[in-house]
């Protein structure tokens, strides 16, 4: 199983280093650590399949447990209604002690998502807690569709428009949803 590229010390050692090296301690250490987060991620995946949050779905992209793709359907009654937004989720190897990295792959007009797709959501940064799961993270993202957080913006210009002229903001957001998310 490939480990995510986040921290170098968990990368498998080059095979050349194993030549003539019988000690299994180092490889065992890496395996244990990976499987610790792996078990947690597998459990979250099962949990997500059993009880998926509203308008959300997520799962591993390929055979890599640490790299997921998620979709969030724009909630009804918002400017993002009807849009399907794709996100990349990368779990660090020390997940859940470090937050997963989420990235919008679909362009979205939202004050908490910058042009590169990064989110300015506090629970994915400073307010991350190991007790949070990807289900809760997706629910939090869906909630900022319903209610953006203009005081913690990724793009202050959009936040300013959202606060000053809500109708204009929603009009642009609808147009972007129609153009990029359908």
């Amino acid at each position: 199983m490939m480990t995510p590229g986040g921290s170098g010390r968990f990368k498998p050692l080059p095979t050349a280093m194993y030549a003539g090296y019988s000690g299994t301690a180092s490889s065992w250490v890496a395996k244990t650590s990976v499987s610790a987060s792996g078990k947690r991620i597998q459990r979250e995946m099962a949990e997500l399949n059993v009880d998926p949050p509203l308008d959300c779905s997520a799962g591993p992209k390929g055979d890599n447990l640490y790299h997921w793709i998620a979709t969030i359907i724009g909630p009804l009654g918002t400017a993002y209604e009807g849009g399907i937004f794709f996100l990349d989720i990368v779990f660090p190897s020390d997940y859940p002690f470090k937050p997963p990295k989420l990235l919008f792959k679909t362009r979205i007009y939202h004050c908490n998502v910058d042009t590169a797709g990064n989110l300015s959501v506090d629970i994915l940064r400073d307010s991350w807690s190991p007790a949070l799961t990807i289900t809760k993270v997706l629910q939090a993202i869906r909630s900022i569709f319903l209610k953006p957080e203009p005081y913690n913006p990724a793009l202050p210009m959009i936040a300013r428009l959202y606060l000053s002229d809500r109708e204009k903001h929603d009009e642009v957001a609808k147009e972007w949803t129609l153009r990029f998310a359908k």
């Binding site: 250490v29 244990t32 078990k39 947690r40 002690f97 307010s127 807690s129 190991p130 007790a131």
Partner: protein, 316 residues
């Protein structure tokens, strides 16, 4: 008299073994051997007794309790009850004392305590042991209870004596004569008369008995162990760590690092403390001294925790 009493004792021991032998195993081998030997003699004796016992039932037992009537068919069983009742109820013991002083001479009672000089002592002791076992089986009485009864009875002896004497005389008038018929074969009238009187209070203390000593505990409460059941009832502790989903072991389950009540395993706690050290449940920083305080308070958990933390070092 000596030979008579031995005969009595043996005759008593034999039915005891027969009646209760199927219930439990006996430890006293000597008693067993003796009982086996005396089995034949008992058969002979029983055949003599049954006829008279039937007469007795007709004549005198109408006033007695129905459960006692059954025992009267077997005259020997009364001897057993003599012992049991002596130990069970202080009223009996006090009555025995009264009888010794007033109605009868010193040989009236066959029980071990009142007949200290009795020659059938060793046999009687075995009987008493058997009787003790029987009492245990019934869940009624123990030795300590008998002692408590006797002690409490001494205090109330004066008060009880009058009442008991009356009841004794009633019994004497009814059962005493008939019982003496039965006991002719054993040639110990006094014993049988005494036994007949003892029947009147042939039982352990009831919980609502007025004469019950205050010091006696309630056995029903003791046997149920309600607190023990409570301790093992289910508690709201997660079965697995909410962080890593590994099962919580005993140490983890008792580990409560944050006052908010968020539980996690020691591995995850250590990892978090190596990082920002904030509780996953409330996001407040862990108190750094909390772990030390807990180890000092729980001396037993210290070694386990050290072993675990050292294994954490191996892990990284």
């Amino acid at each position: 008299m000596i030979s008579d009493s031995i005969t009595n004792a043996s005759a008593t021991a034999a039915p005891t073994s027969r009646d209760y032998g199927t219930k439990k195993k006996r430890n006293h081998k000597s008693a067993k051997m003796k009982q086996n030997k005396l089995g034949l003699r008992r058969e002979q004796w029983l055949s003599q007794v049954t006829n008279k016992a039937c007469k007795e039932e007709k004549s005198g037992n109408s006033s007695e309790k129905p459960d006692l009537r059954v025992e009267n068919l077997d005259g020997v069983r009364r001897e057993d009850h003599h012992h049991e009742s002596f130990m069970q109820s202080p009223s009996n013991s006090s009555m025995g004392g009264t009888d010794l002083s007033t109605n009868f001479s010193g040989k009236s009672s066959r029980s071990s305590s009142s007949s200290s000089g009795f020659c059938s002592g060793n046999v009687t002791e075995e009987e008493n042991l058997d009787d003790d076992d029987d009492d245990d089986d019934d869940g009624c009485v123990d030795d300590w209870e008998a002692v408590a009864d006797a002690l409490a009875a001494e205090e109330e002896e004066e008060k009880e004596n009058r009442r008991l004497r009356e009841s004794v005389k009633e019994d004497e008038s009814v059962g005493g004569s008939s019982a003496s018929n039965v006991c002719d074969s054993i040639s110990s009238d006094v014993v049988c008369v005494n036994d007949a009187k003892q029947k009147s209070s042939n039982r352990a203390w009831r919980p609502d008995d007025d004469l019950r000593p205050q010091g006696l505990p309630n056995l029903g409460k003791q046997l149920s162990f309600p607190e023990l059941d409570k301790r093992f009832s289910s508690v709201a502790i997660p079965s697995s760590c909410p962080i890593c989903y590994e099962d919580l072991d005993l140490t983890d389950s008792s580990f409560l690092p944050c006052p908010c009540g968020f539980r996690l395993c020691l591995f995850c706690h250590k990892t978090i403390c190596d990082g920002d050290g904030r509780c996953p449940g409330c996001r407040k920083p862990y108190e750094r001294d909390s772990m030390k305080a807990e180890t000092s308070s729980q001396g037993g958990g210290l070694t386990i925790r050290l072993a675990r933390s050292s294994s954490m070092f191996c892990r990284f």
